[in-house]
Amino acid sequence: MSALSPVLAPVAAVGRSGIGLLALVGRLTMFLGATLAHMLRPPFYWREFLFQLMQIGYFSLPVVALTTLFTGGALALQIYDGSARFNAEAVVPQIVAIGMVRELGPVLTGLMVAGRVSAAIAAEIGTMKVTEQIDALTTLSTHPMKYLTVPRVLAATLALPVLAAVGNIIGILGGYLVAVLRLEFNAAAYLRNTVDFLEASDVVSGLVKAAVFGCIVAVMGCYHGMRSARGAQGVGRATTNAVVSASILILAANFILTGIFFSE
C-alpha cells in the first residue's frame, strides 16, 4: 500500500473529487425533489409567495431594464458594423430581435437576477439558519421547506419569464433607438422588420429558458442558505456559492436548452 501510494495518490484525488461532485448532484436533486414534493402538499403560504413575487419580480425590473437596454443598443452597433463588411446592414433589426429574444434577454435576466436574488436569498436563509430561526420555525410546526423554499422557488420560476419578456422588449427598444437615432434606419421599417421576422417559437423558447433560470436562481439561493456554516464567514461563503453556482448553471442550462430547442 505505502509503496504504491505515490502512484495511487492522483487516482485517489480524481476519485475524491468525482465522488464529491456526484454527492453534490445527488444532494441538489434531493433538495429539488423535496421542494417539488412540498409544493404539491398543503399548506401553501400565499403571503410569503406574493411577498417573494414582489421581491424577486417587481424589484428586479430596474436592473433587468437597464441591462437589456444597453445590451440591445450595443448589439445594434456591433451587428451594423459587422454586417457592413458584406453590405448586409439591413439585417440589423432581425438579428437584434432574434439575439435578444432567444438568447440575451433570458440569459441576461437570469444572470442579473442570480446576482441580485440568489445572493439575497442565501444571505437571508443563511442568517436564519445561523441564528436558529430555521430550528425555531420547525418547533413552531412550520416546515422550513414549505415556508421558505417553496414560495421563493415558485415566485422566481413564475417571475423570470415575465422579467425576460420585459427585458426582450426593452432590449429591442435599445436596438431600435440606436438604429434610428444613430444609424439612420427608418423607424417604421425597423419595427415592421422586427415584428414580421420573429416567430412564436423564438419568443416561447426564450421564456421557457427564463423559467428554468428562475428555478435555478431560487433553488441555489435556498440550498446554499440552508447549508450555511456558522458565523458571518459561513453566510458570506453561502452567498458567494449561491451566486457562482447559479450563474454557471444558468449558462450550462442555456446551452443544453438551446441544443434541445433548435436541434433540427
Binding site: R41, P43, Y45, T127, M128, T131, E132, Q133, D135, A136, L137, T138, T139, L140, S141, T142, H143
Partner: protein
C-alpha cells in the same frame, strides 16, 4: 414525562453525546448544566427531532419519538412543545406580535388575526412588555427584550413542555434575575414540564427542581437541586464553585 435512554450522537469524528440517560417527570423543572460544547443543546434538539440521534431511544409519555411519522403526527407532537432559543431566534421580517402569535396565525392552531394579536399582547404583558412593543421589529429591541419576546412566543400556544436554551446568556445580572423569575413563575402557573440548559448557577438555583450535570457526553450527576451543594461528585463541585483546578480540564 420525558425519558432519554442511551442516546448517542456524533458529528463526524466528534462524539457529542455518548449515552445519555435522563428522566424528567411531568410538571417538574429539570436543569441540565455543563460546560460550553458538551452537547446540552444537542440533547434538547434530539428530543424535538431537530437532530436525529445515532442510537438510543427518547420516550415521551412512554412512547418513542422520532422515526417516520406523518406530518399531522409530527405537528401534533411539536404542538406540545415551546422553546426559547439562545439568541431568541425571532423572525426579523415579522413584527413582534406576529412573532409571538406565529403558531396562532397558521397551521392547526390558526385563529382570526385580531384574536391572535390579542393573545400575543396578553403574552407580552405576561413577560413584562407593554403593548406598544407589539408593532416593533425584533431588531429594534434590546437583548433582554428579545429574550422576553422569545419567552412570550414559547408560551403563546400554552405548551405542556417548555425548553429553555441558555435563557440568561448575554444578559446583565439583574436582567438574568428577572428572566429566571419569569421562567419559574410561568412554569409553575402553567404546570408545564420544563427543561433548561444553562451554565449560569444563579439560573439553576432559581429554576430547577432537579439538576443534571452533563460532561463528556454522559450525565455525571443528577438529583434534586437541594442535594446539589452536598453532593461530593468532583465534577459537579468544580462546576458549582467555578474552580480552575479539578477533574474538568479548562483549555487555557
Amino acid at each position: 414525562m420525558i425519558e432519554l435512554r442511551g442516546v448517542h450522537k456524533a458529528f463526524g469524528p466528534k462524539k457529542v453525546l455518548q449515552g445519555i440517560d435522563l428522566r424528567v417527570e411531568r410538571g417538574t423543572s429539570m436543569v441540565i448544566i455543563g460546560g460550553s460544547g458538551t452537547g446540552k443543546s444537542v440533547a434538547l434538539k434530539c428530543i424535538l427531532g431537530l437532530i436525529t440521534p445515532d442510537s438510543g431511544t427518547i420516550l415521551l409519555d412512554g412512547k418513542p419519538v422520532g422515526g417516520r411519522v406523518s406530518s399531522a403526527e409530527r405537528d401534533a407532537f411539536l404542538a406540545r412543545f415551546g422553546m426559547l432559543f439562545q439568541g431568541g431566534a425571532l423572525f426579523d421580517s415579522l413584527a413582534v406580535w406576529q412573532n409571538v402569535a406565529f403558531r396562532l396565525l397558521r397551521g392547526r392552531l390558526k385563529r382570526p388575526k385580531t384574536e391572535a394579536r390579542e393573545i400575543a399582547i396578553e403574552k407580552l404583558r405576561r413577560v413584562g412588555l407593554s403593548p406598544d412593543v407589539a408593532d416593533l421589529f425584533p431588531a429594534e429591541l434590546s437583548g433582554g427584550m428579545q429574550k422576553r419576546v422569545g419567552l412570550a412566543r414559547a408560551i403563546a400556544a400554552e405548551p405542556e413542555i417548555i425548553f429553555f436554551d441558555e435563557p440568561t446568556t448575554g444578559l446583565d445580572p439583574i436582567m438574568s434575575g428577572v428572566i429566571n423569575e419569569l421562567i419559574r413563575e410561568i412554569v409553575v402557573e402553567m404546570g408545564a414540564t420544563a427543561m433548561t440548559i444553562t451554565h449560569d448557577m444563579s439560573s439553576v438555583r432559581a429554576i430547577a427542581d432537579n439538576v443534571a450535570m452533563l460532561h463528556d457526553g454522559v450525565i455525571h450527576w443528577t438529583g434534586p437541586v437541594a442535594e446539589m451543594d452536598a453532593a461530593d461528585d468532583p465534577y459537579l463541585r468544580q462546576f458549582i464553585t467555578g474552580a480552575a483546578d479539578g477533574p474538568i480540564e479548562a483549555v487555557r
